[in-house]
C-alpha cells in the first residue's frame, strides 16, 4: 500500500542474464491496482524478459516479484490464476477456429463448458470477430490474430493483464480498435502492464510509464510529470537543403540564446526557452544559399522526453522493431 493505493505488482531488484548478457539489471517498480502501467523501451531493452519473469515463464537470477502480495517466484501457478497474458506473438492454435481457441483457453483456467462458450461468444462480439468465429485461426489476418489473442488473454476475467507489444505489426484501424478495447478494460478496473515501443501509444493510454534501456529502468513517472520539465521548452525543426553542418558555429554565434542541433544533413533542431522567431533563422540560412523547405514547431511530447533521457532516436527504434518482426 502506498499513498492509499494498493500495489498489484511489486518488483524488487530483479536481474536476469542470458550467457554473459544482462537482459534485466536490478530493476525496481510498483504497479498499482487499476493502473495502466507502460513499459517503454527499444528492442532488446528487457521488456519481454521482464514480462516473462512476472508471469512465471522465466525465473529471475535474483530479486523478488509479488503479484497481489503473492510471491511470484515461489508460487507462479497461484499467480497465473489472477493474471492474463497476451504475448508479443499470436500463439494460438492455427488448426482450431477462433471460437474453439477461446473455449480451449478458457478450459485451461477450469471454466465449465457452458460458461466458456458464453464467454467466448461475448468476447467474439466485443472484438468484432463474430463472422470469423468458425474460421481457422491460421487463416486470420494479423490484426484479427492480435484481437483474438487479447480476447484469449482476458477469457477468465483476470484482475491483472500483461500486454506485450499489443499493436506491433498490425494495421492502423485494428491498432486503434485495440487501443479502445485496452482503454475500456482499464476503465473497468483491470490493472494493465503494457510494453510498447510506440511512444504515442504509451502517452495516450498509460497512467505511468517506465523507460527501460539496456535492462535498466531509467525513469518512472506519470505522463504529465514526465512532460513537465520540457513544457516550457520551445522547439523548432527546420528541413532544408544540405550544407548546414559547416554553418553550425556561425548559427550559434548569431543566435546565442538557442541550442542548435543538426539531427542529420538537411534537418536542424532548434531549442530555446522563449518562442523562436522563425524569420531571422530562415533569412540566415537563405543568405548563405541554403534553401529552407519546411519549419515545424514541435509540441512538448513524451517522445521529446524519451529522447532527452535515453538519447535513443525514435525512428531508429521503430524501424528496428518492425524489422525484427515485433519481438523484444
Amino acid at each position: 500500500m502506498k499513498n492509499g493505493k494498493h500495489t498489484a505488482i511489486k518488483v524488487r531488484k530483479i536481474t536476469k542474464s542470458f550467457d554473459q548478457v544482462k537482459a534485466v539489471n536490478g530493476i525496481d517498480f510498483d504497479v498499482y491496482t487499476g493502473e495502466l502501467f507502460g513499459f517503454l523501451g527499444p528492442n532488446g531493452a528487457g521488456k519481454t524478459t521482464t514480462i516473462n519473469m512476472l508471469t512465471g515463464l522465466a525465473r529471475p537470477d535474483s530479486g523478488n516479484i509479488y503479484v497481489n502480495d503473492i510471491d511470484c517466484i515461489r508460487n507462479p501457478k497461484t499467480v497465473q490464476h489472477l493474471i492474463g497474458i497476451v504475448p508479443d506473438d499470436s500463439n494460438l492454435y492455427p488448426e482450431l477456429s477462433g471460437f474453439q481457441n477461446l473455449c480451449f483457453c478458457a478450459s485451461l483456467y477450469g471454466i465449465k463448458k457452458i460458461e466458456r462458450e458464453v464467454r467466448a461468444r461475448e468476447l467474439l462480439e466485443i472484438f468484432d470477430l463474430v463472422k470469423a468465429a468458425d474460421r481457422k485461426f491460421g487463416g486470420y489476418s494479423k490484426g484479427m490474430k492480435r484481437k483474438l489473442t487479447i480476447a484469449a488473454g482476458i477469457i477468465h476475467h483476470p484482475s491483472i493483464l500483461f500486454l506485450d507489444e499489443p499493436t506491433t505489426g498490425i494495421d492502423v484501424m485494428s491498432a486503434r480498435q485495440l487501443r479502445l478495447i485496452i482503454s475500456e478494460l482499464h476503465k473497468k478496473g483491470t490493472t494493465i502492464f503494457l510494453t510498447t515501443h510506440y511512444i504515442e501509444e504509451a502517452e495516450r493510454l498509460c497512467d505511468r510509464i517506465a523507460f527501460i534501456v539496456s535492462g535498466k529502468i531509467i525513469r518512472i513517472d506519470s505522463v504529465p510529470n514526465l512532460i513537465q520539465p520540457i513544457k516550457s521548452r520551445h522547439t523548432l525543426k527546420i528541413i532544408c537543403a544540405p550544407g548546414i553542418t559547416k554553418l553550425k558555429k556561425a548559427m550559434e554565434d548569431n543566435f546565442p540564446s538557442m541550442k542548435i542541433i543538426i539531427q542529420e544533413e538537411g534537418v536542424l533542431r532548434i531549442e530555446a526557452s522563449k518562442p523562436i522567431p522563425v524569420g531571422p533563422l530562415i533569412r540566415f540560412l537563405e543568405d548563405r544559399h541554403i534553401d529552407v523547405f519546411e519549419a515545424l514547431r514541435i509540441k512538448p511530447s513524451l517522445e521529446e522526453v524519451f529522447v532527452d533521457i535515453t538519447g535513443i532516436k525514435i525512428d531508429s527504434m521503430k524501424n528496428e522493431k518492425e524489422k525484427s518482426g515485433g519481438t523484444s
Binding site: R59, N91, F104, Y109, K112
Partner: protein, 245 residues
Amino acid sequence: MKTFTAFWNILKKDFKTYYLKPPNISWGIIFPLAWTGMFFIKSGNNIESVQSILPGVVALSILFGTTSLLSVTVTFEKKNRSFDRLLLAPIPLEVLMLAKTSGAIIFGIINSFVPIIMAAFFIDMSHVAWFVFIPAVILIAVVSTFLGLFIAVAVNEVFEAQTFSNFFRFPMIFLCGLFFPISSLPFFLKPISYLLPLTYGADMLHGAILGKNSISVGINIIVLLFFCTLLFFLSLRNVRKKWIL
C-alpha cells in the same frame, strides 16, 4: 475439478488436432501391418511364425507410434510458442505433461491391437494370457511415451526429435529381445539390453503370448514402473530448466 477440466481439454484438443488426423490414423494401421508382413515373408510364409513375431511387432508398433507423435505434440508446439500458453496456464507442470502425453499413451495402446486383430485371423489366440498382455501393453505405451517426451523436451527442432528418437528406437529392435533372444546377443551387448526399458516390456509380451519369459512378471512391472517414473521426472526437470528460463 478445475485441473481435471484443463487436463481433459488438453487431451481432447490433442486428439482432435493430431491423433485423429488421417496421416496418424493410417500410420497407426500401416506401420504394424508392414512389420507383420515383413516378418511373415521373412519366415517363409509359415503361419505359425506369426505367433513368434507377435510380441515384437506389438512392442514395435507401440514404440514407434508413441515416440513419433511426441515430437509433434510437444516439440512443434514449443517451437511455434503455443506450448508457452500451456506453461502460462495455472496447471501444475506434472498435470500438464501428463495431459500432453496421455494422448500418445492411448494412441500407442490402440496401435498395439492392430497386429493382435490381424494375428487373430491367422492363429489361435485363446492361449494368450490377457491379464499379463494388457498391463504389458499399457506399461510399454507409458514408458515409450515418456521416452518420447524425454527426447522431445531435450531438443529444439522437430527434425532433431525424430533423429534423436531413431538413435534409441532402431537399436532397441535388436537389443531388447523383440525378435532375437537376448541370450543370442554378443556378451558385450547384453548389459546394454538390460538398460533399455523395452527389454522388460517385450519379455512380458513373450510371456503373455508365447509363455516364454526370462524375467518374472513382477520384476518386469517394477523395472518398467521405475523407467516410467525416471523418464517422466527427467523430462519435467528438463522442461523447468530449459523452457522456464
